[in-house]
């Protein structure tokens, strides 16, 4: 075989491997998609400041809150309701997080009644530093809430850094969420 021929067949081999490489790229791409939950939507608010809103205090109807309550971060912003079973499931863990000193602002979302929501917090414990009352879901609409519970991670500058849909539990807190919170704390100290 001449040198030219060897070069030619090398080139041919490379060309023959192109489909295999493309196939592997496709497999990796599709495998990544397999593990994803299609019902999980990424928030459009990521890295954007919290939207403006006004809301009554859950316990005191004469008291009005605004988005300013979310600008004292880093903090968690939790959307909940008494009709939501998953909110009940995560409640105890939220109490635990609050006991660790993590500030959590609560948004009571389209609940059956103010009384029911107050009862819930009085019996199960109140993990929230501020309790916002949103009977028509107007505040939640500004955040693009599509199902309770949702938990937003808001940094010291009042920007949304992450949205978690579903319950916060010891497992996902340790695996992922704690890191996001600690990162925000670290940035705030700098």
């Amino acid at each position: 075989m001449s040198a030219q021929e060897t070069q030619g067949s090398n080139k041919k081999w490379i060309v023959l491997f192109v489909p295999l490489v493309l196939f592997i790229v496709l497999v990796v791409f599709l495998l990544k998609g397999l593990g994803k939950d299609p019902t999980h939507l990424e928030s459009v608010l990521i890295d954007k400041p919290v939207p403006e809103f006004t809301a009554q205090d859950l316990f005191d109807p004469t008291q009005q809150h605004s988005e300013q309550v979310l600008k004292k971060g880093p903090l968690l912003f939790n959307v909940w309701a008494t009709w939501c079973p998953t909110c009940r499931a995560e409640h105890e863990f939220l109490n635990e997080l609050a006991a660790q000193g993590i500030p959590i602002v609560g948004l009571n979302y389209k609940d059956d009644s103010r009384g029911k929501a107050m009862d819930w917090l009085n019996t199960l414990g109140d993990p929230y530093t501020v309790n916002l009352y949103d009977p028509e879901g107007k505040v939640a609409f500004e955040f693009g809430v599509y199902g309770a519970p949702e938990t937003y991670f808001i940094d010291a500058e009042g920007r949304v850094r992450y949205r978690h849909v579903g319950d916060v539990n010891p497992r996902n807190w340790e695996n992922q969420l704690k890191g996001i919170y600690q990162q925000m704390v670290k940035e705030a100290k700098q």
């Binding site: 299609p38 019902t39 939507l41 990424e42 928030s43 459009v44 389209k110 028509e136 879901g137 609409f141 500004e142 955040f143 693009g144 599509y146 199902g147």
Partner: protein, 158 residues
């Protein structure tokens, strides 16, 4: 006689159940009053085009989810305020993302959806063309080979 009575009762119960289901279904789709036909049309197209974030594969016109009802109400309010189609869609997209609109915009992320099939066809045709051209080449024998063939064909060779 007894069986007849129970049949009648269960038939009545069925009718009552169906009627109440119908009533619930009707109640979930709140009637909206419009001032002009254009407003009604805009509202109707928008609720067909906007997708319910909660139920994934339904538009907000078909969905019974409370969130869809909220989105219909918001759409209605904005239509009555005189907002344009684009303004209302942008408003929804700003809160729920591109997911909320059944017509995805053309941008960097979606470009592969639009150009992907064309790209595959172009590459496929190109490869087929290159391969067919290659195959034609070795059919002709060189002068040397012609000479050898002649030698081989000579009758005294065997």
């Amino acid at each position: 006689m007894r069986t007849l009575t129970s049949t009648v009762i269960s038939a009545l119960a069925l009718v009552a159940t169906l009627f109440s289901l119908y009533a619930v279904g009707q109640a979930s789709i709140r009637e909206h009053a419009f001032e002009t036909e254009a407003q009604r049309e805009l509202y109707q197209t928008l609720i067909q085009e906007l997708r319910c974030p909660k139920c994934q594969n339904q538009n907000i016109a078909d969905s019974n989810a409370p969130l869809s009802a909220d989105m219909r109400d918001r759409t209605y309010t904005m239509v009555m305020e005189g907002k344009s189609r684009k303004q209302i869609i942008d408003y929804m997209v700003a809160r729920y993302g591109n997911f909320v609109h059944y017509r995805p915009p053309f941008n960097w992320y979606t470009s592969i959806l639009w150009w992907g099939p064309l790209l595959i066809i172009v590459v496929g045709v190109g490869v087929a063309w290159a391969m067919s051209r290659k195959r034609k080449q070795p059919l002709a024998l060189s002068e040397e080979e012609q000479e050898r063939l002649k030698q081989l064909r000579k009758p005294d060779h065997d």
